[in-house]
């Protein structure tokens, strides 16, 4: 301890700096471009526009148009940062290609985000010590999975959250161990949580990454102080917003943040056990497996195995927590939950592969005194043999499955009915119309007053909307019946009344995805 400390560092040696190695950059950007091209190809045609996509896009529209965080009363269902970010981009495709279905155009705005996510998968892979080939495998495993090519296109909050958590991980693994990188990691984690609150559960993974990265470092307490500052200070803006609006605590006649949290944690009905046949969670699992069983199965195995490998732990802890949360009995499991899982599974697979190959090649290196013996000769072939085996496995097991899924993503045209319906609605004079969330923005863009285009479930669930229609369902001119509107028959009385007292004037699409424009018969009893 009896050393003097002083400021002057030794002057930098006057050698020309080594040329910057751009290999990583080239690999990551090249592969990302490839995946992004696949992601963009047919992004408007597949998959079918979902109600949630319409919801978030419409809320982004509300942000763009200065209507607050939603065009209905914002009730703290989700923190708003994801669609605030979406709002920053989604106007551009809508402006360039106004003829597209609004949701389809909105999907284009997801591409920069997904590009960042792909690059971050590579960066995180490198920063947990993977060789280049393994980091590239991680990126491709993530990017080429049919699940990613399907859900990665859709406008989901989870995509925002997971990209920000990946950024937090990458920053927490900063090779320079820079104090402000840790602060930025905290801020990125907070942005992730404020994009989709459920990502909160994998914060321990970021802490593990920081803990490992600051091991034997003189600055560890400072690093955690910086992280906590970033996380708390950015994160507190959300409750602060609620506080400033007087909506932090539940009370008479207004929504509240804590009220919403209570609802999400307590009142929301669960999806059943993932193991019970026929439960919602089980069906969901099968639909995910339908898209990509390879990544989910191999990823789960690699995640569990990777828990025993120190360097992989930041990633596998995240994967393991997500698995545990999905397996908890009786919890609510949303369809896009898997979006959060994919990158961590992909990196875990790459990491375990890298570990196995490192072991094999270490074993395959002949001892210096044993060259020429038969054992050594056999060992020399170990690495090439393992690589060949892996390639065969990829060609036989992975490629055919992914080919089917990816081809579907690149060719299917599942949104034709929606596009036709949107065109039809655009041609109509503005009226009071009840639609699902997907078509809402198309109507508003077509000139319908935004307060006279009504999300169908708000009729029965939002008293403010009901107040706008003193005559009840008779004040509605048209209802557009889509699968989403018909999903839970009988639960929404006004919607049921509208469907009963209306006649079809136009219909689009096949029977299972039928979209009907129905005129309301105001005279009927």
């Amino acid at each position: 301890m009896t050393v003097l400390e002083l400021v002057r560092e030794t002057p930098p040696p006057v050698v020309t700096p080594p040329r910057k190695d751009r290999t990583d950059f080239t690999i990551a950007v090249g592969l990302t471009t490839l995946v992004l091209a696949l992601l963009a190809w047919n992004i408007t045609g597949f998959p079918t526009a979902s109600d949630d996509e319409g919801t978030y896009l419409a809320q982004a529209w509300a942000v763009q148009n200065g209507q607050g965080l939603a065009h209905y009363t914002y009730w703290y269902d989700h923190p708003p940062l994801a669609w605030i970010q979406l709002a920053a981009f989604s106007w551009l495709p809508a402006w360039v290609a106004p003829s597209l279905l609004a949701v389809a155009a909105g999907r284009i705005a997801m591409l920069p985000l997904q590009a960042a996510g792909l690059l971050l998968v590579y960066v995180v892979g490198r920063r947990i010590g993977l060789p280049r080939w393994a980091a590239a495998v991680g990126l491709l495993t993530y990017g080429l999975s049919p699940l990613f090519l399907t859900m990665g296109r859709q406008i989901y909050l989870d995509s925002f959250a997971v990209v920000w958590i990946l950024a937090a991980l990458a920053l927490a693994l900063s090779p320079r161990k820079h104090l402000w990188h840790y602060a930025a990691a905290g801020a990125a984690a907070a942005i992730g949580v404020l994009s989709k609150e459920t990502i909160l559960v994998i914060l321990p993974a970021v802490l593990v990454a920081m803990w490992q990265n600051t091991a034997r470092s003189t600055t560890r307490p400072w690093a955690f102080g910086a992280f906590a500052s970033g996380l708390v200070l950015v994160g507190c803006f959300y409750p602060l917003y609620a506080l400033l609006r007087g909506e932090l605590f539940p009370g008479e006649g207004h929504v509240s943040l804590f009220g919403a949290i209570q609802f999400q944690l307590g009142s929301r009905s669960g999806s059943g056990s993932i193991f019970a046949a026929g439960s919602g969670a089980n069906e969901l699992l099968h639909s995910w497996l339908y898209y990509d069983s390879v990544l989910l199965v191999a990823g789960s195995v690699a995640t569990v195995a990777g828990l025993f490998l120190r360097r992989l732990r930041p990633v596998t802890v995240a994967g393991a927590i997500l698995i545990a949360v999905a397996l908890r009995p009786g919890g609510y499991l949303p369809a896009m939950y898997v979006v959060q899982v994919l990158p961590f599974f992909a990196i875990a697979i790459a990491g375990v592969l890298a570990f196995v190959f490192a072991r094999i090649s270490a074993w395959g290196k002949p001892a210096p005194d044993a060259t020429g013996s038969t054992g050594a000769r056999a060992r020399r072939w170990a690495t090439p043999a393992a690589a060949a085996l892996a390639l065969v496995l990829v060609a036989v097991v992975v490629a055919p499955r992914w080919y089917i899924g990816d081809r579907r993503a690149l060719t299917a045209n599942d949104n034709a009915a929606y596009v036709e319906a949107a065109h039809y609605l655009r041609a109509q004079p503005p009226s009071t119309v009840v639609v699902d969330d997907v078509l809402w923005l198309d109507c508003v863009n077509a000139g319908y007053p935004s307060d006279r285009v009504i999300w169908f479930y708000k009729l029965d669930l939002d008293s403010e909307v009901a107040a706008r229609l003193p005559g009840g369902w008779r004040d509605v001119d048209y209802i557009v019946s889509t699968p989403a509107v018909r999903q839970d028959p009988g639960t929404l009385p006004t919607v049921t009344a509208l469907l009963r007292n209306s006649t079809v004037i136009a219909s689009f699409g096949p029977a299972d995805g039928l979209i009907e424009i129905r005129r309301v018969n105001k005279e009927s009893a």
Binding site: L4, E5, V7, L179, W222, G225, L233
Partner: protein, 421 residues
């Protein structure tokens, strides 16, 4: 209302940037493990080549002077002399000085300052002609100097070719009162981290003691400015402007230990003096001669920052209160919270710093100290702000006399009882 909102937003943004930059610089040493390691320096080689003249101005310091000199005499370095400077109107301190000088006549010289207006720079200038050593060191009468310090400084001068070595100073009595905790941490962050940045950037306001300057460099610079209230800062600025090499030699084991002012009033006076001194240095404009634009900007920023800091310490909480209760538009209200981010982060780092401080100095930090730290930060900011306003007022009305900080010896292990008796 719209104008008020615009003003709120602008003020908030400026304060946020200011607080963020200050935080960034304050955390300099801990930026990366490399920066922290980069501030280390090889231990002394056991050789002694330089001779030291240690100046010890003492004014109404009879309670602590003897102890300080005794400790200085325990120094392991062979070649040093102590010059105690006493005022001609302060017979009590002079009596103590002469008594301790008699114990080591070869080492200690007592010089009497006959200036009508007494202050520290004038006392130091009085002693300068008597200096025989290669290096002049300055200490305060209440300093607890480590016996190994001179050997370290000797080596630091030789190993780096520096003109000035600033040693570490640390207030230790963090437990004495709520404000002393903050005061100690201020020193900790300043000497452990921030000063390193200043030395690196070529602009350094030196500290008031444990500062060592080559005697020839000091004579060339005509010693200290007898009219300046922050003669230490001024000297640092002048030497920096002349391109002199300044290094910071810091280690928790050999820092000079000091005590915090014994009352809030004393703290207020001390701060007023420093702030006013900073203002004087700013007005003198020596810093304009700094070689680079960046160094000049750093100088301007550093010399004005006590005022900005004082201002923001009060304005930010007030702005937040307005934001919550004045029914501002939510967006504007959120913006007014921006400066709170770096401010709260600063507090967070102070908590970590307090922990680190406890470890470095082997002090037991209890939970209630952390609590005091958090609860005390706004009142402390209020004290600093008051001092800043006082400084501006005094400078404006031309009151430039020296308000002395009295010392009771709270940092000395046995001293408090002695004083109480």
């Amino acid at each position: 209302m719209a104008l008020a909102a615009v003003i709120m937003i602008l003020v908030s943004l400026v304060l946020a940037v200011f607080a963020a930059v200050t935080l960034w610089w304050t955390m300099h040493a801990w930026r990366t493990p490399e920066t922290l390691a980069g501030t280390r320096f090889a231990p002394p080689d056991g050789e002694q080549h330089l001779t030291f003249s240690l100046l010890l101005p003492a004014r109404h310091e009879k309670a602590v002077l003897e102890h300080t000199v005794e400790r200085l005499l325990r120094s392991t370095h062979e070649a040093f002399e102590i010059i105690i400077i006493v005022g001609h109107d302060d017979p009590e301190t002079a009596e103590v000085a002469h008594r301790v000088a008699a114990t080591a006549p070869a080492r200690i010289l007592v010089v009497t300052d006959h200036n009508e207006q007494k202050n520290k720079p004038r006392a130091l200038n009085t002693a300068l002609p008597y200096v025989r050593g290669d290096v002049v060191g300055v200490f305060d009468a209440e300093d607890q100097v480590h016996p190994l310090l001179l050997e370290h400084v000797d080596h630091a001068f030789r190993a780096t070719g520096a003109d000035v070595v600033q040693g570490g100073v640390q207030l230790i009595n963090f437990h004495s009162s709520w404000y002393s905790l903050h005061n100690c941490l201020e020193y900790f962050f300043w000497f452990r981290s921030r000063l390193h940045l200043h030395a690196k950037k070529g602009f350094i306001p030196l500290g008031g003691n444990t500062v060592f300057v080559r005697a020839d460099v000091l004579r060339e610079a005509n010693g200290w400015d007898g009219t300046c209230l922050a003669e230490d800062c001024d000297l640092g600025v002048r030497l920096s402007s002349r391109g002199k090499k300044v290094i910071v030699a810091y280690d928790s084991t050999i820092v000079t230990r000091e005590e915090t002012p014994h009352s809030v009033g004393a703290l207020l006076k001390q701060r007023t003096r420093w702030h006013q001194g900073f203002l004087q240095v700013l007005r003198k404009g020596e810093w304009r001669r700094l070689p680079t634009w960046r160094a000049r900007m750093l100088a301007r920023y550093t010399l004005t920052s006590p005022f900005l800091q004082a201002f923001s310490g009060v304005v930010i909480p007030v702005g937040v209160a307005i934001a919550i209760w004045a029914q501002l538009p939510v967006f504007v209200a959120l913006i007014t919270f921006l400066p709170v981010l770096p401010m709260a982060a600063t507090l967070m780092f102070q908590i970590v710093g307090l922990h680190d401080f406890g470890q470095q100095y082997d002090l037991r930090i209890r939970w209630h100290h952390y609590l005091k730290l958090v609860l005390g930060s706004f009142p402390y900011a209020l004290v600093l702000s008051t001092a800043a306003l006082r400084a501006v007022w005094r400078e404006y009305t031309g009151r430039r006399n020296w308000e002395l900080t009295a010392h009771v010896g709270a940092h000395l292990p046995a001293a408090p009882q002695k004083v109480a008796a």
